[in-house]
């Protein structure tokens, strides 16, 4: 383990501050994950990854860099992993999910910026996250105003490439996004020194599709009345999938799915029959943000699905890899990625359709729509989400939170009251 200290030193990390971060992780993992009974055995892979979160994977990435491969840090499910993988690059997610990094972000950003952005900037500038140190280039995107402007700040410290995400979904926007993908491909070729070919891109599309299918198998198991996995465990799997090698990720998710399907056949549920099932929708829950899941699942309910970037938006819809030219493949990528229903689009009826569809597929008793504080996009959309769900007769609770622990009591009251309401109705 002494090797990690040397590695962190070589990465230019602030070891003293980083040690403070290392001290809080075991408490949270213990409280959130180890208090659960009867977890799937296959979760041991993710338990290992989270226990060594700043060790194993960073060391792997550094080994690959020594062979000349480039690491691309991304912040959004719109950035097409396939293009990077096809050029033999490596993708790692970079979104900050810890309050630990927020004060660092607030040194350079207004306080009323969303915690995910503040944490991401704080993680980079505070030099306390190896992934933020390792990435050769960051890939940003124009989803929300906060991110757009934060990328300008990050860009002063690290090479930054920005993709211009359309804000509407007209046919010409799909073409525009295809062109953005083509431009990005050229940039990726330049950074990696590798030329993209139809064969390589088709292979990358296959790899990422396999990962999506494996994640979907795990989520499909959560549709069962016999619930074989908690929301906390499924969330951890999803969060780690942004950092892992895509082929290993698919293998591990399939291994987990095998066990979950067997549990369903054997009638093994992680919750007592009648436990209220919650669909969670809203802004992403970047690792190690487990607050909401933990509060819900210790208030007499269980999370069965996440309609969010760290959830269904990450794996739903496959890319059609049947085309035979790069241009057509870029279009196929554009078509898949533009099916993502982020609140940065206007209008955004697709998200509401997704929520209603998922609530039914996952047999949710209620929906919790939660946004990160100062995310105007998702906050404003709450009203339309609530109206649509009410019209469908699906109870909904709208919440707002950040990464601090201080609102846990208030969240518990609201969530417990919502569960009591579901139990009485």
């Amino acid at each position: 383990m002494a090797d990690y200290v040397k590695m962190w030193e070589n990465l230019g990390m602030d070891l003293e501050s980083h040690d403070l971060l290392c001290q809080v992780l075991p408490t949270a993992v213990g409280d959130v994950f180890m208090t659960q009974e009867n977890r799937p055995k296959a979760m041991d892979f993710w338990d290992l990854v989270i226990s060594e979160v700043h060790g194993i994977r960073p060391a792997e990435l550094i080994e690959e860099q020594k062979k000349g491969r480039k690491v691309f840090g991304t912040f959004c499910v719109f950035v097409p992993d396939e293009v990077i993988i096809a050029a033999d690059g490596i993708v790692t997610g970079l979104c900050g999910g810890s309050q630990f990094w927020v004060p660092g972000g607030e040194e350079v950003l207004p306080k009323n910026t969303c915690p995910l952005i503040k944490a991401s900037v704080g993680a980079r500038l505070g030099r306390t996250c190896p992934f933020f140190r390792i990435a050769d280039v960051y890939v940003g995107e124009t989803t929300c105003d906060g991110k757009k402007k934060a990328y300008e700040i990050l860009g002063q410290d690290v090479p930054m490439y920005i993709m211009d995400v359309p804000q509407m979904k007209r046919p010409k926007d799909l073409v525009k996004w295809k062109e953005e993908i083509a431009d990005f491909a050229a940039k990726v070729e330049e950074i990696t020194g590798n030329t993209l070919s139809v064969e390589k891109l088709k292979d990358a599309i296959r790899i990422v599709n396999e990962k999506r299918k494996a994640m979907k198998r795990v989520y499909d198991a959560r549709k069962s009345e016999i619930l074989p996995i908690s929301g906390r465990d499924a969330l951890l799997m999803t969060q780690i999938s942004f950092f892992d090698d895509p082929e290993r990720c698919a293998k591990m998710c399939n291994r987990l799915a095998d066990e979950l399907e067997q549990r369903i056949r054997d009638g093994v549920s992680v919750v007592p029959a009648g436990t209220r099932r919650i669909l969670l929708t809203g802004t992403p829950l970047a690792v190690p943000n487990w607050k909401l899941h933990n509060i819900i699942e210790t208030s007499g309910a269980v999370v069965v699905c996440e309609e969010m970037c760290t959830g269904t938006r990450y794996f739903e819809n496959l890319v059609d890899g049947s085309a035979e030219t790069l241009d057509e493949l870029y279009m196929a990528l554009s078509e898949r990625y533009m099916k993502n229903n982020c609140a940065c689009f206007t209008p955004n009826p697709g998200r509401i359709e997704d929520i209603i569809r998922l609530a039914k597929e996952y047999k949710a008793d209620g929906v919790i729509d939660c946004s990160l504080k100062f995310c105007g996009l998702y906050d404003i959309e709450k009203r339309s989400v609530a109206e649509a769900l009410k019209a469908e007769g699906i109870p909904v609770l709208s919440l707002e939170t950040d990464y601090e622990d201080s609102d846990a009591g208030q969240l518990r009251t609201r969530i417990e009251a919502f569960v009591e309401m579901l139990n009485e109705s």
């Binding site: 009251t413 417990e416 309401m421 009485e424």
Partner: protein, 263 residues
């Protein structure tokens, strides 16, 4: 000693951020004991003191069941069950106002709650966000700035004339009040502005949910002030009911739940 009903008694303890309210009901649902005291610095100590006082009047001869509610509900070590103040206020209001369909406005010390009750159960609810604007805390802060008690402020407000302060944020509003004081604005006018700010905030919050058919019922600490009720009626354009026991609504609901535990 007067004769007492034999059987199970329900005790509801509502530990709010400012006051702890306790109600004990007999097997018929009739209140036989009420207690109101400051929550103080320790919810656990307050809960123990309540229990000890209750035992002085009602000893081992009555079998008591406890439900705790309010933000300090987890600090009642002897509670048989904890139930949120949303469910308890709803149940309490149904009992107090004798209506199965109603809308509860509870302006508490730390939270303001709006609860829609349909056929006796909660169908929708809303609580304020972290900010204390529009809560009892806001009123306390402003009363303190004006060197009055909240009760004095609410009474004086009835004699003031229209004056504006922000309804967005307690901290901003306090500096606005200090500005008004500096400009020599009459105290009753500032009091008017404070109550107006709370009422506007509550009205705006209510816009986020669909109020049900039944009456609007005011519970919580502000129900004792006729002027607040009057202002709420004007803001909502409909009658606002209240009751002398309305500040015990959460405790009544909890006591009823406690009684139901035995069935």
């Amino acid at each position: 000693m007067r004769t007492r009903k034999i059987g199970h008694y329900g005790v509801g303890i509502d530990i709010g951020s400012t006051c702890a309210k306790t109600v004990m009901i007999d097997p018929d649902g009739k209140a036989v004991w009420r207690d109101l005291r400051p929550t103080g610095w320790s919810s656990v100590e307050t809960a123990r003191a309540i229990s000890s006082d209750l035992s002085k009047g009602f000893g081992e001869e009555v079998e008591k069941h406890y439900v705790a509610t309010g933000y300090g509900r987890v600090s009642v070590p002897f509670a048989d069950k904890c139930i949120t103040e949303i469910s308890c206020h709803a149940k309490g209001a149904v009992l107090l106002f004798g209506e199965k369909n109603l809308n509860v406005i509870d302006i508490g010390g730390q939270d303001t709650k709006l609860i829609v009750v349909t056929e006796g159960v909660v169908s929708e609810f809303l609580m304020n966000d972290k900010c204390s604007a529009g809560t009892g805390r806001f009123l306390e802060v402003m009363a303190n700035t004006l060197s009055m008690t909240p009760a004095q402020l609410c009474t004086l407000a009835g004699t003031g004339k229209e004056t504006q302060i922000s309804s967005l944020c307690t901290v901003f509003a306090e500096s606005e009040v200090i500005n008004l004081i500096g400009r020599g604005t009459a105290r009753e006018d500032i009091a008017w502005a404070v109550v107006d700010s709370i009422v506007r905030k509550v009205r705006t919050q209510a816009g986020k949910l669909r109020l049900g058919k039944g009456p609007l019922c005011l519970t919580g600490g502000l129900c004792d002030f006729p002027y607040v009720r009057e202002k709420l009626q004007a803001a909502f354009g409909r009658e606002v009911l209240t009751s002398p026991d309305a500040r015990f609504a959460g405790a009544f609901g909890a006591a009823q739940y406690a009684l139901e535990l035995t069935r």
